[in-house]
Amino acid sequence: MTPQQQELRQTRNPVAVDIVGLNKWYGSFHVLRDVDLRIARGERIVIAGPSGSGKSTLLRCINRLEDWQEGSVVVDGVELTDDLKKIEDVRREVGMVFQQFNLFPHLTVMQNCTLAPIWVRHMPRKAAEDLARHYLERVQIPEQAGKYPSQLSGGQQQRVAIARALCMQPKIMLFDEPTSALDPEMIKEVLDTMVMLAEDGMTMAVVTHEMGFARQVANRVALMDAGQIIEMSEPARFFENPQHERTKLFLSQILR
């Protein structure tokens, strides 16, 4: 990133994501309850919590893969409504990495990375390929560009998925349990990639159970349970001195 770009990034809207009074129901099930969350530009938030607590749903509201019944979500100054154009505007600037990778199996690694830049950003093919090579190098798999996703290991696939998201040069990155579907031996390579991204100053919202990662890179850690944020603080305080009983219980179970 050039200094000018860095400056641009900092002088823009200081609030990356602003979620206010968010309520969502699946049928009659109240999955998100009065959630307020503000993510500052350059901030890295880790969201933890038991399964079914609504943490993935919350994350997916940020790029409106899920809609909601009450409340507002403003991403980079754009309020998400039913307006398809605004949704697409926001999605262009928000990268997402999924638990199941969701690479496109009919395209090579290179094509996976260049597809959206070419078709959404209208970038010339050559430029898109250069960009893809750059990010594939960053995630340390430039030699796999010609292969199909099914020929890669889980860890490599997830790193391609990260590179694919980065090729859109997003302002915010969302990670939805990026290491949960991986063999233990491959978790580290993905986490290392995410740490590198954090060190570059990327705004990140990460749903994960990797508490080591949270401790290392997060500015704030949040615990969700029953559709609400139970406790949120900086990692030192969250891990050493949790306030809420639910947090203490959660940490005692997860850290053993």
């Binding site: 790029n63 893969l65 398809l84 697409e88 505007d89 999605r91 262009r92 928000v94 990268g95 997402m96 999924f98 199941q100 969701n102 690479l103 496109f104 199996p105 009919h106 597809l115 959206a116 078709w119 959404v120 199909y148 099914s150 020929q151 998925a161 694919r164 998201a165 859109m168």
Partner: protein, 390 residues
């Protein structure tokens, strides 16, 4: 031997503990030996296998030998009229009467298309073949232009060439078209036109918009629920009553539209099956990068869905190709229709004429259907990038 050398065994020789000292090197798989023995065992290993083998062999001989005799051994290869294909003349059993096919060949291929103008269908066949061949070869260059020429420009050029009435060409009414020409015209138009229709209907049926969904379901269910014969009958004999008198839509065109709608409804359901096989995550990953509906469908979902349903699509194409023969009932004489008309020619009335004609038609239908099927199989293999077991 090997394992004792390389491992450390503790305690009375039992392997309660084990530490590997040397890795087992990779070896080539041993070659299969005794191929003949293996085949023999499969064919005649046990009473049941032996019986199966014998029964199969009997059926094969019982089918293949008479076919071979009829088509080749006893067949008549030269002749000028029915006399040359009669048992009385030849004083031997008579198989297929191929001179009959030779004499009627023009009729089988072109129907009653005027003889002086037959260079026009020939030119259409030639252009079609020249454009199709490179399209089928995987590595051939300029695929995009080639496909555009074949699927868009070729039909338009063919239309003007075959119909005429413009550019100094004599007008040839579709009423006199026939034979293989009409079979191919109907199949090609049906396949090429029903494919986009099927895709749109399949997408429509899964649309989040209720109105679009209802209309798609209605179209699909209506056209699937009505027999093709009814569709053809309606298009040919009933439709003119409903249209204003000066609306004189060509009979062949009406049939083409009927066939396309009919086939489109079937393709829609095949394609919907493929759409349902695509995981939600694929939609989400594409949408999350800011792609709109048509880009998600066109670039991510459809290419995968269509690949999954190639067997079903080819099934429908082959069925459509053979169903074209139903146009006979609305007085359009396709290949089979022409073959059957030719049976009434007293010049060629022999006991074997009927069988010869059907054998010829059967061979042509089989060759084209089989070619479609094999090509589809090859394409399926080539497109298989997900490395599943096939």
């Amino acid at each position: 031997m090997n394992s004792i050398d390389n491992t450390m065994t503790e305690g009375n020789g039992s392997q309660l503990r084990f530490v590997r000292r040397a890795m087992v090197p990779e070896r080539a798989r041993p070659l299969a030996v005794d191929v003949i023995g293996a085949i023999w065992r499969r064919l005649f290993g046990g009473v049941f296998n032996t019986m199966l083998t014998l029964v199969s062999a009997f059926i094969l001989v019982a089918l293949v030998w008479p076919t071979f005799r009829f088509m080749i051994w006893d067949a008549v290869w030269d002749g000028a009229s029915r006399v040359d294909c009669l048992e009385e003349t030849l004083k031997r059993p008579v198989g297929a009467c191929w001179p009959f096919v030779q004499a009627k060949f023009g009729q089988f291929i072109y129907g009653f298309y005027p003889e002086a103008e037959r260079w026009r269908p020939n030119l259409v066949f030639l252009i079609g073949a020249l454009l199709l061949a490179p399209l089928l070869v995987p590595g051939a260059p300029l695929k995009r232009i080639n496909a555009l020429l074949f699927f868009v420009v070729f039909p338009i050029v063919s239309f003007f060439l075959l119909v005429g009435g413009r550019f100094g060409l004599v007008h040839v009414e579709t009423r006199v078209w026939g034979g293989l020409l009409i079979t191919l015209v109907i199949s090609f138009t049906g396949i090429v036109a029903s494919m986009p229709l099927g895709i749109l209907l399949a997408l429509g049926r899964r649309s989040p918009l209720p109105a679009v969904r209802v209309v798609s379901v209605a179209i699909i269910e209506f056209w699937r629920g009505v027999p093709l014969i009814t569709v053809l009958f309606f298009a040919t004999y009933m439709l003119p009553f409903f249209l204003p008198p000066h609306w004189n839509v060509d009979a062949l065109l009406r049939v083409l539209i009927g066939v396309t709608l009919f086939s489109g409804a079937y393709l829609a359901e095949v394609i919907r099956g493929g759409l349902q096989a695509i995981p939600r995550g694929q939609f989400e990953a594409a949408a999350a990068m800011g792609m709109g509906y048509w880009k998600v469908m066109g670039l991510i979902i459809m290419p995968q869905a269509l690949k999954y349903v190639i067997p079903g699509l080819v099934n429908s194409f082959i069925a459509l190709f053979k169903d074209t023969t139903l146009v006979l009932i609305v007085s359009i004489f396709d290949l089979l229709g022409q073959v059957r008309t030719s049976f009434s020619d007293p010049n060629w009335a022999t006991p074997v004429t009927l069988f010869t004609g059907f054998a010829f038609a059967g061979i042509i239908y089989f060759v084209i259907s089989f070619a479609m099927s094999r090509y589809a199989l090859a394409m399926e293999r080539r497109l298989s990038t997900d490395h599943r077991a096939t």
